[in-house]
Structures are given as C-alpha cells and as structure tokens.
Amino acid sequence: MAAGAAGPCSLLALLLLGGLAAGVAGTSPEIKAHVTGVSGKLILSCNITAPYPAIKGHEWMHGDKILQTDTESSAFTSYTIEGKMEEHSGVYDCIYKTNPVIKAQVNISVPPQVTAYKKSEHGNEGDTGVLTCKNPSFPPVFSWLWYKSGQEPIINGSGRYIIKSSGNKTELRILKLNIEEDTGDYHCNATNSYGSGGATVNLRVRSRLAALWPFLGIVAEVLVLVTIIFIYEKRRKPDEVLDDDDGGSAPLKSNATNHKDKNVRQRNAN
C-alpha cells in the first residue's frame, strides 16, 4: 500500500511548527509537530520538549470532533489516519492534558481538491443556469477562475455571467440561457498557497419545447385508450339499446359473455 508515497521511506510532505503553550512560568515547553505519510497512512505526531508539567493524557481533535483520547503520560503522542493527505486535509489539534492545557496545531495542507457539485448540469432555455464547484480541502482557495473550453476566462458581471466565490465554493450563474451559445464544458480553476486544481462541469440547455413531445405523446395515448374502451363497450352492448327501446321487456338476444349482467336485467325488468 504505497499509494502516493515514494517507496518505503517516510514522506515528509509538510512540516509545521506547532503553536506554543500558554503561560508556564519560566521557559515554555516547545512542541514539535509532524506529519508523515507512510504506505497509505498518515501519521500525525506531537513531541513536547522539556521542561513540561505532568501529563495526564493526550487528546487529538479535528475542529470540535474528538478523534482520539488517552491517559498516558508520555511526551510523544501520535494519531494515525488511513488514507491520503488529499482526502484528510485540515487543521488538527494535539492536546496535552496538563495544567494548564498545552496544545499544538498540526495542519495537513494540500493543493485545492476541486470537485463539481454535479458533473452535468441542466438548464432550461431562458432560465438561469447555475454551475457550482467546491473545494473541501485545506487551506481555503483565494482565487477562483471560470472559463469555457478554449475561451477567455469569464469575468464576473460581464455579459450574462455572475460569479460568486468563497474560500471553499464558487458559483457561476448564467442568465437567460441560450441553447447554442451556452451549451458546453465549463472549467473552474482554484488556486491556494500550495498549488491549484480544477474541475469540469458540462452544461446542457434544454429547449422550452423539450417536454412538449412526451406530453403530446402521452395525451395521444390516453385518447386512444379511452376511445378503445368506449368502442369496446358500445360493441358489447347493442342488445341493451334494444332492451331500453322496448321499455323494459325481455331482451331479444343476448350475445354478451357476461351472462350474470344479462340475467340481472332479465330478472328485474318485467
């Protein structure tokens, strides 16, 4: 399982300094934070240097979620994640349960892992089309770019385009969709301090009349069915017309298969 790792050696992808502890009198302890990627796993580690107060345990957190907690008193603590850096980017905290608490930050930073909300978007002619790309990875994107295949980048506010971007999402709105001009592939490109990435969204513009053909087809089918049912019914009951003509006397001839019905009529009509 050497996915992404160069051989058995540990990959020092990124190494960051941890933050320092709060208010310990005298020299403050330092924490060395480490991220290594070994054969498909990521190992985050924190090592606190002397002097440090008594450690009652360690905790690893990601945002407000507690990932791992223990009650050992070692200076070194680590947390292992299965997977690649690109999938688990973000800010992790290693916390030493001392008094007062000492913590450090470990960041897993990657270039933008851009994905499209939907690879293929549909829009109706004349309506507004919305194309969305997102970047769930860390650190956030500071620059988004949209462009159509083989064309100049799209500028926000030019023509029928509106672009709304944030650190982890971007939206391209195209007003008054046109079938010829707007159908095609759109690329979103994101850049952060570690690199750039992109994704492609395909836009299809439906004609206003696209739904009309199935509609007419179904209406025609319904009409045909209703006609067939009524014709079948009329052909099955010619004797009942005669029946009523005679004012309720016994029917002349019954050629219907459902004799029960006929019997009822014969019996009750005198």
Partner: protein, 509 residues
Amino acid sequence: MSPPVPSDLGYVPPDGGWGWAVVFGASISVGFAYTFPKAFTIYFKELQAVYSISYSQIAWITSIMCATTYGGGPISSILVNRYGSRPVVIFGGLLCGIGMVSAAFCTSILQLYICVGFITGFGLALNLQPSVIIIGKYFLKRRPIANGLAMAGSPVMLCTLAPLNQFLFDNFGWRGSFLILGAILLHCCVAGALFRPIGAATTPVKPQVTGKGKDALKEEVTEDAMEMGSPTKVPMEDKVEEEGGKACCEKINQYLDFSLFKHRGFLIYLIGNVLMFLGFFAPIVFLAPYAKHIGIDEYSAAFLLSILAIVDMIARPTTGIIANSKWVRPQIQYFFSFSIAFNGTCHLLCPLASGYMGLVIYAIFFGLAFGMVCAMLFETLMDLVGAARFTSAVGLVTIAECCTILLGPPIGGTLIDTFGDYKYMFIKCGAVMVLAGTFLFIMNYYNYRMLAKEEKERKAKEENTKPVRTENEGRNSWNKETTRDGPELEPLSKEQEGLKEEVNGINEV
C-alpha cells in the same frame, strides 16, 4: 368462499367479469389520489430555490392538495349521486391534468397553490371517492378482495411515481415535469372510462335524448335510482318535483344523505376513524428523519420506506383475501379494530427498537399493519352502511377525517420539537391508535348485538306484512346489510310504490 350476501342495491353485483377491470381502474385512481402529494415533494427543493421561499411555505402546496382531496369528498359524493361514477372520474382526471399543465406555466407561488393545490387536489378528490364507490356496485361476495386490490394501487403507484418524478425532474426540469405529469394524470380518465355504469334496469323512462346519448342517459337514470339511497326516496325520475310536497331536507338527502348521522354504525365508524387518523400518517412522515436522527445514513433511511411500501403492497390484497373468508367477513369490524390496535402497538414499541435492524423490523410490521388498515378502510364503511348509502357516507367521512389527517403530522412535529425526542411522537400516535382500535372494538360489539336484536324484531314483524318479497329477504346471514336497507331489496317499480311507503314506515333506520 363466503356464503351469499343479500344485496341492498336492487340487483346482484357481478362479483367478477368486468368488475376486475373496474378494480384495475380504481387502483390507478386511488393510487394517484393517495400518492401524488407524497411524490410531489421531490420538487420542493427546486421550487424553494426558484421562488426563494421557505420550506413551510412550499409545504403548503401538499397540505392544500391533501385538504382539498379529502375536503372535496362531499362534493364528490353529491356529483356521483347525481351523475354516476364515470363522468365524475373523467372530469376529475381532466381537472388534474389541467391543473398540472397550468402549473407548468406558473410564475408565482400563489399560482402554484391554486393550480397544484386546489385544482389538482379537487381533481384527485373527484377521483378517489367514485373509485371506491363503484367497487361497492360491482362486488358483493368478493368485495373485500376487490377493495384490497384497489387500495393496493397506492403503494404500487408510490414505487413508480417517486423514481419517475426524479427522472422527469432530471431530464426536463420542473416545468417540463409538471407538463408531463399533467399528461400522466390524464390516465385517471382512462380509469374512469373503465367504470362502466351498472345498475338494474327498472322503470321504463321515456327517452329524453335521441341518438347516441340515449344509452348513456338511460344508464345514468337507472344509476340515479341505485345511488340515491335515502329510505325516504321514491322511484327514480329525473324530475324530482314530480313527487310533490317533498320536504327540503329530504331533497338534500337525495344528494348527500345527512340522515346517515342518525345511523349508529356510521357514527361509530366516524368517531373511531377521526380519532385514528390523528396518529396514522405521522409515523410515516417522521420515519426517515427518525432514522437519520439515531445515526443511520440517508440511503438506508430511505430504504426503510421502500421496505414499508413493499410490505404494504403485499399486505393489502392479502388482507382483502383474509377479510373475505367466511370466518372473518361476518366479524370484519373486529378485524378492522384489531388491525388499528396492532398498528398502534407497533408505534408504541418503536422507541424500543435500537439500531438499524430494529428499525427494519419495525418498518416491516408497520407496513403490514398500515396495509391491513388501509385495505379495510372503505370495506368496513360499506359493510356498515350498505353499498347504496355508501356514496354519501364516504363523502361525509372524508371531510370529517380531513381535519385530523392534516393535524396529525404537525402535532407530531411539535412534540418532536418540544421534547427533542422522537419517542413521544411515537407514543402519542400509538396511544391514539390503540384507543381508536379499542373504541371501535367495543362499540362494534355493541352494534352487532343491537343489529342482531333489530333483525329478530324485523323478522317477527315481517311475518305479518305483505307477502311480496324477493328471495333475498330470506337470507339473513349478514344482518347489517338487510336491516337498514330493507326498501332497496325490492326492485323499484311503479306498482310497488305504495308497498314501499308502508315498508319504509316499518323500517326505521
């Protein structure tokens, strides 16, 4: 399968033959009426984005649709009483289609409320009641099976409509989908075309329309006679004023039989059902959110509902077959109360279910109970009031249930929001349904006894009255059918009018 049952319709229903085609049409109609509001929720997200409104505003659409579908019951009944099932269903189908097609061109949420909520809702109301009514006209011996099969249309339609809606939405957008849905709803007209009118040909009515229309008119006139089930009614003519001197309320009773409110069985059914619906639909609405709340992922939560629908689909016809057996049919009211109480117990036990497997088991039992109750919902009403008065009965019942049906889920939602825990909602639903089931059980026991007593008295009195009887009178296996519908047992004809008045006088209903 079951011993012969005397008919109160004035003719012997075919119990087969074209009846099965009618059942098929009814299942389509019923399916659309019950599942269309549920399947419509797929469009909510998109509509919310397009019109920039909140979820509760969007949810009003389905609330209005449901309210109109149930509240339009009496109007539906009146129209069926007047014109027969077929024209009403065809008109209802057209209304639905027109409603959805116009919804495709709407530009504001208010227009959507009107087009989708009112118009389509009303069209569905005109579909639901007549479909159920016409089953009572075509079936007697095998009526529970027919009812079970017709109601089975609902889960089948749900399983097809939901993915279909998603497919339409992905390919055509919401406007195109509404257009196509309008066309699909026109299939209710096809179902209506299958509802061939049926009824005994009785008094010779002078043809008033020549040409092709005559046949249809005759059908409808004879149907008129069968469908106006009030005991104070006299032989059918299209001109009501010929009777002369009819009291105003008797006239109203011809269109909508308010004298049903004096009918003991009807009142029992009404109170029991109104109570039951308070807790009937809420668990379905909240099953998926509850599953997500206890940590199950979205797809598995949706799968729970699929399990429910599949079990439901099988349970309904099976219940129909069981209800038709000779052991259960005479005591069908007990079976109905049992299924309601069983349903309630499932809900009460749900909070004990832990983890996904527990919820799967709950979904299976819930689907079973839900199917049982739904399959017999209208069968028991038919059983209590008789097929002739069922037309009006179903309208009055649905409008009364309308309030509690609409209140049920919001009350459940409030309970969940107040306590932050789903179990109170389940307990409330379970308790309400167990209460309704017990109430129905006790009251029906009382009702059966009263009916037996009345039957004895009636038999004693009949020994002394006119000898003109049809052979149906002799067979009294099902007391409910005969006691209150004595007049309808005799075919209506002019020379027996006088006799009918007398018989009417004896049989107070």
